[in-house]
């Protein structure tokens, strides 16, 4: 079955900088923004952009991700001549086989999958970014510019540029140089980790890279520099919309807070819906003495306490006398009577028992940070979880 463009979504990373939140699940399946999980964004972008064939490369703790994605029905990707395919590492006949050793190696190991569709172009995505993007527009520019590779870029501040992969364009606009975390950035075009490759050129580059014993099999470190060295045309596709990497606790918290306004990203815009797979539960109930302001609340919720500036996923319970502010409560989290949760991320099905305190307001001290409780934890009555703490599943607090 010939497809002009298929997408490959890198979802195998551990997301180690999310610590307790990715102790038992892969980063793309971390809950986000009320109804979503992170992977909903690239999957919905694919569906909305008319890309109906998506290979999802999984490796680290994929169980929840696999069942979440299913056959892609939630994103209308369950079509008869395409669909979503979970691609774990596998063994071949008589071969040793191996784990994915890098982003490029993950695609290399699935060359046969891509060949099935004989595509003209391959879109490479990562499963840890929050954004709405029309890949069809990027694809149009890729073709117009006759590029071998088009990389989506954002203009960032020079200060931010020192922490990102930076593309330096030449006078004709094509990329001349790629620098990972440059000390003295020459441009402010940061790679968003979204690539469109000419399939034949990608294939050749991947095979060549695989045979290089010194390569770390990474798109940013190896594939892009080697294509540049060979004089391939690489085009930077400028994207001005909202885009956030949610790979750390503070960036995950920040991006959740961004969902409280529609100025950065409008989730209520029906022309570009972000779909998700949610349990069906009754509408949220807001009780007699509850106060819910500047917050997102999702179905299945039961709110009897105070909720301010917070993002609540499905089935969250906030009991009477409890206070939740500037926090992210993942599905099934429970805050019991009199408990106070401030500047915190509470994992799935974690219970904050009566009178417990999690997190504090910023006090300007160096040690301050978002307090994080992983999934399935019980924070005991009147216990205290200080600002910046990281509580793992299985810990007793």
């Amino acid at each position: 079955m010939k497809k002009s463009c298929i997408a490959m979504l890198l979802a195998g990373g551990q997301g180690s900088r999310l610590y307790a939140l990715t102790q038992s699940v892969a980063k793309p399946s971390v809950p986000f923004g009320g109804k979503y999980r992170i992977i909903d964004f690239p999957l919905s972008n694919c569906a909305n952009s008319g890309i109906d064939t998506v290979g999802v490369l999984t490796q680290y703790k994929p169980l929840q991700l696999n069942s979440y994605i299913g056959i892609g029905q939630s994103w209308d990707l369950d079509v008869s001549d395409g669909g979503v395919y979970i691609l774990p590492p596998y063994l071949g006949a008589g071969e040793k086989g191996s784990w994915f050793t890098g982003t490029a190696n993950a695609i290399y190991q699935n060359l046969a999958f891509i060949e099935n569709y004989d595509p003209d172009t391959v879109l490479i995505l990562s499963g840890d970014h929050i954004y709405k993007m029309d890949y069809a527009d990027m694809l149009r520019e890729h073709k117009e510019k006759g590029a071998a590779l088009t990389i989506a870029v954002q203009e960032v501040s020079m200060e931010e540029a020192t922490r990102m992969g930076i593309l330096n364009p030449g006078p004709d606009g094509y990329v001349e140089q790629f620098e990972e975390k440059p000390k003295q950035p020459k441009s402010n075009l940061a790679s968003m980790g979204i690539y469109i490759f000419d399939w034949k050129k990608l294939r050749a580059a991947l095979i060549e890279d695989e045979n290089d014993p010194n390569s770390s099999k990474d798109f940013g470190k190896n594939i892009i520099p080697s294509m540049l060295a060979e004089g391939e045309r690489i085009w930077p596709y400028r994207f001005a919309g909202y885009w956030r990497d949610v790979g750390t606790i503070s960036s995950l918290w920040d991006a959740n807070m961004d969902m409280l306004s529609t100025t950065d990203i409008n989730l209520y815009d029906e022309s570009w819906p972000i779909a998700s797979r949610c349990p069906i539960c009754p509408p949220a109930f807001v009780g007699e003495n509850a106060r819910v302001t500047h917050s997102i609340v999702t179905e299945g919720g039961e709110i009897y306490g105070v909720v301010e500036n917070s993002v609540l996923s499905p089935n969250v319970i906030v009991e009477e006398g409890a206070e939740v502010s500037y926090s992210v409560l993942m599905p099934g989290a429970v805050v019991k009577k009199g408990a106070v949760v401030k500047y915190a991320i509470i994992g799935e099905n974690t219970l904050i028992d009566t009178g417990a305190r999690v997190g504090t307001e910023p006090d300007g001290s160096a040690g301050w940070g978002i307090a994080t409780c992983g999934p399935n934890i019980r924070i005991r009555k009147k216990a205290t979880v200080p600002a910046g703490a990281m509580i793992y599943t299985g810990e007793e607090v």
Binding site: A275, I280, P283, R291, T293, V311, L312
Partner: protein
């Protein structure tokens, strides 16, 4: 696969539902923020493992078809069996009105019923709010030698109903028809587990005698012929929706956490078509009390004792009390609504003041812009 086949009656519309059923049948009335009434029998069937199901409809069924689709939400979109929507066929040519009774509705789709491969049929009403544990009812039915098990309630129903009187031997002795108040026996919930051949026999006999009603005619014939009928008692909330008042009260009942738990128990989820993909935002000055709010709403104003369906936009300075606001409604600032049932995509412009009464809620028809 269980040896049971579901039949849901979704053809009823009553004049007492007024504008609410001008473009839908009672079974597709929106309920509790995100559901339709037919979700209850469909979910009961699904939760009991009954995936082969016929839905009898007659007129105004566009909205029902839209909602049910292929039956996917109830796992009834199957390669073999699954869900079948049953508009009238095989009606006599002179017939132009509504089905006079359930037996007539069944006879109108009699070829379908004859072809049912399962041995037993479960009949349910499409416009009843009740989370009935059909699995338990079937297990009880199988433990007796009765040909019919009638599902009855343990609470006093609001409107007209039939009462089942059980004799000392444990079988149903008689049916007290069209009661409005309490009395002897137990109120029927118009759900039945019945042997398919027994049902076909009753349908044939009624047809031969020009009889149409299920309770008055068919069940009375069955009992007078010495048939054995058992009752299964559904404990918990149950109410049929036949009038605007019943519709309003049933929705309002869901604001009570205990009643809500009875209707939406975790172990028997009520399934419905998935529509919304975004949570609800509560604004800086939002005031929300004792209310149910579905997803994809933006609430900036004040709502109290309300049921708000998805897609609502309640502006700052708007005030709603004791209202039911269906999907996609807009209420602008300064609007003040009390005891209003706003049907889908109605809009209330700045400063609109409207008030109904608890006994006579004001129904604003679908699509109205005020």
């Amino acid at each position: 696969m269980r040896n049971y086949h579901g039949i849901i009656f979704a053809y009823q519309t009553t004049p007492e539902l007024r504008e609410l059923v001008s473009a839908r049948s009672a079974a597709s009335l929106p309920f509790c923020g995100r559901y339709r009434l037919i979700d209850f029998p469909l979910s009961s069937m699904r939760n009991a493992g009954i995936l082969d199901c016929g839905v009898i409809m007659q007129r105004n069924y566009q909205s029902l078809l839209d909602h049910i689709g292929s039956g996917k939400a109830w796992d009834m979109s199957r390669r073999s069996g699954g869900l079948r929507m049953l508009p009238p066929f095989g009606l006599p040519e002179y017939h132009t009105g509504n089905y006079i009774g359930t037996i007539e509705a069944l006879n109108a789709v009699s070829t379908y019923i004859r072809d049912i491969p399962q041995k037993h049929v479960v009949l349910m009403l499409g416009s009843m709010v009740a989370n009935i544990d059909l699995d338990a009812a079937i297990r009880q039915h199988e433990s007796t030698d009765s040909d019919i098990t009638a599902i009855v309630g343990d609470a006093k129903p609001m409107g007209t109903h039939h009462r089942f009187i059980v004799g000392p031997d444990g079988y149903v002795r008689g049916i007290d028809l069209y009661r409005r108040n309490d009395g002897a026996g137990m109120p029927g919930l118009e759900g039945y587990i019945i042997h398919k051949e027994v049902l076909l026999d009753l349908m044939d006999r009624c047809k031969a005698m020009n009889l149409y009603a299920f309770h008055k005619d068919a069940l009375t014939l069955f009992l007078s012929g010495g048939g054995k009928m058992d009752v299964y008692i559904h404990r918990g909330y149950a109410t049929a929706i036949r009038t605007v008042e019943e519709y309003y009260k049933a929705n309002r009942d869901m604001l009570d956490p205990e009643l809500r738990r009875q209707v939406f128990p975790a172990e028997r989820p009520v399934r419905t078509k998935i529509q919304e993909h975004v949570s609800t935002y509560y604004g800086e000055e939002a005031v929300v009390r004792r209310s149910l709010v579905a997803d994809n709403c933006v609430i900036e104003g004040e709502i109290e004792d309300c049921i708000v369906f998805s897609g609502a936009r309640i502006a700052k300075g708007a005030r709603l009390k004791d209202c039911i606001v269906m999907r996609g409604c807009t209420v602008e600032k300064g609007a003040d609504l009390r005891y209003v049932i706003a049907d889908k995509v109605t809009s209330f412009s700045e400063g609109t003041v409207l008030a109904g009464n608890e006994k006579l809620p004001l129904v604003v028809p679908k699509g109205t812009a005020i």
